[in-house]
């Protein structure tokens, strides 16, 4: 199929939507499709499948600053891309944002698929402009939401019955990452991933449990991946165990994979706000045994404890007890790891792209052109 994908946000800055678009495009290309990605960018060394739409301007939108492209020059470039692409399907991301996707929606004459990423039920921008957006959004043949939360947001503001297709993970990038011996402890390594100053990520719980578990295990190491105030975070640790904790800061994807790969146990003490728990899949793919709070999203990913261990959310004693038990039981860890290694395959981008492909095939089934 000839597929045109539109990303509204600048590829020159990192972001969830941008990563999703690039990963999806690469997965579709490896499945044999012709893919062209239109996105704002001024870089010169772009992947071959990207068509740059020019400069992105920072504008306040929906409570934060978005780097987007618009204006007459951009619009004519979008129209040319749509016309010359002769696409079977155009796939827009975040079509409600004031950028390329919305312009492409006007220009597209072939079936249009749209993916909604925003998960904010009280999105002011979306509810205020729903009536202005509606005539455009009517042109969409199929809507995809990346999580149950994104789905609820969409249903609240625009209505309809979107299909939920989650983000994918390139499982092999984690499976094939190599561990770093200097990050590992003699009697085991634990890893935590998440911003230090975001309470929902649960670093306070991690620190309290580690104080307890590490007290009798001088060879135990904790790797902390995530930005935030390291000094404040260090204060949460008792002086006796402080040297056993290594803060890696806001790490690149490669470093995150290496940290997870180096760990025996990956702890996810999140207290809520996780719509899917992709990071658990990354941990499982890297071969770390997952110990996670029993919030609904994590329960689902861990198949109620078949693929990892659940502790009672926000309960330090439960977390500490389960962590100590896991560290002392290598046999149980390898049994869980073996089960997890098979289960993560269905979150791989190849499987996720196959689901997206089914949506394309449904809307582009022997149709003529749509006006």
């Amino acid at each position: 199929m000839r597929i045109g994908i539109v990303c509204p946000y600048s590829l020159d800055v990192p972001g969830g939507v941008q990563n999703h678009v690039k990963d999806l495009a690469e997965a579709l290309i490896s499945r044999g499709h012709h893919v062209s990605v239109l996105a704002p960018s001024e870089e010169t060394d772009l992947p071959p499948y990207v068509v740059p739409a020019g400069r992105a301007v920072p504008v306040p939108y929906n409570g934060s600053v978005a780097r987007v492209s618009f204006g007459p020059v951009v619009a004519s470039r979008v129209r040319r891309w749509v016309r010359d692409g002769r696409f079977d399907v155009v796939h827009l991301h975040e079509p409600a944002s004031p950028s390329l996707s919305l312009i492409a929606l006007w220009a597209a004459e072939c079936p249009v698929v749209a993916t909604f990423h925003t998960s904010n039920v009280r999105s002011r921008a979306m509810s205020a402009s729903a009536s202005i957006l509606r005539p455009s959004l009517e042109k969409i043949s199929a809507r995809i939401a990346v999580s149950e939360y994104a789905r609820d947001t969409l249903v609240n503001h625009i209505g309809g019955e979107p299909v939920v297709i989650p983000n994918g993970v390139y499982v092999d990038r984690y499976t094939s990452a190599s561990a770093r011996p200097e990050w590992q402890g003699e009697s085991g390594t634990v890893c935590f991933v998440g911003r230090l100053d975001e309470p929902r990520k649960g670093f306070a719980l991690m620190a309290a449990a580690f104080n307890e578990v590490a007290a009798g295990r001088p060879g135990l190491r904790l790797l902390v991946v995530g930005g935030g105030d390291v000094d404040a975070a260090r204060q949460r640790l008792t002086p006796a165990v402080r040297d056993q904790v290594q803060f890696l800061g806001r790490a690149s994807d490669e470093d995150k994979a290496t940290a997870l790969r180096s760990a025996d146990v990956y702890v996810a003490p999140n207290t809520g706000g996780e719509s899917f728990g992709i990071v658990l899949v990354e941990g499982m793919a890297a071969g770390a045994t997952v110990l996670a709070s029993d919030i609904p999203a994590f329960r689902r990913v861990l198949a109620d404890g078949e693929l990892g261990v659940l502790f009672r959310s926000e309960q330090v004693p439960s977390l500490a007890a389960e962590l100590a038990a896991l560290l002392d039981d290598p046999a149980r860890r390898s049994a869980l790891d073996a089960a997890a290694a098979g289960a993560v395959r269905r979150y791989d981008w190849s499987a996720v792209a196959a689901q997206v492909e089914q949506v394309y095939e449904t809307v582009a089934v022997d149709t003529g052109r749509v006006s």
């Binding site: 005539p135 009517e138 299909v163 449904t362 809307v363």
Partner: protein, 182 residues
Amino acid sequence: MSTFLTVLAVVLAVLVGLWLWWTAHRLDRMHHRIELARTSLDVQLQRRSGAVLELVALAGSGNLDRASALLLHEAAHEARAADHATMESAESNLSEVLRAVLPDAEDVAFLREDPDVSRVVDDLAGDCRKVELARRFHNDVVVSARALRSRRRVRWLRLAGHAAELATVDLDDEPPAALRAD
């Protein structure tokens, strides 16, 4: 002054006219999209019953027992022979028979022992999923078109023209659990 008022009235009339024309255009576009979505759904349903018949033909003398083969054959034929009025019940019936014949992963794994049959099972799983998608996308457009058609300007000025009443397609399209990808 009166020239000014005349000009104003003409401008207003043109704007209102454009707005009404635009609404009619939106409706027209939606009706077209509904037709396409309906075609897609019909094609997917046709492919699904086709895959069931192929499964019966291939596995009927192998790992699919005679009773299951008969049930599937009958339901698939009924679905293909159904007219507009009986389509929903015949297709729901096929979904129900599929779930009854392939209740769990073991049954599917047994069928898949033959690589040719396994390919047909893959097709069938994909077709079941696409039926679900196509029906959902179809009903989505129908619901938004109905919302637009219930607007006063559309009802009073009959902007929808002679287009038929819009109906969602309500049928049981749940596939056997063992054929789901996730």
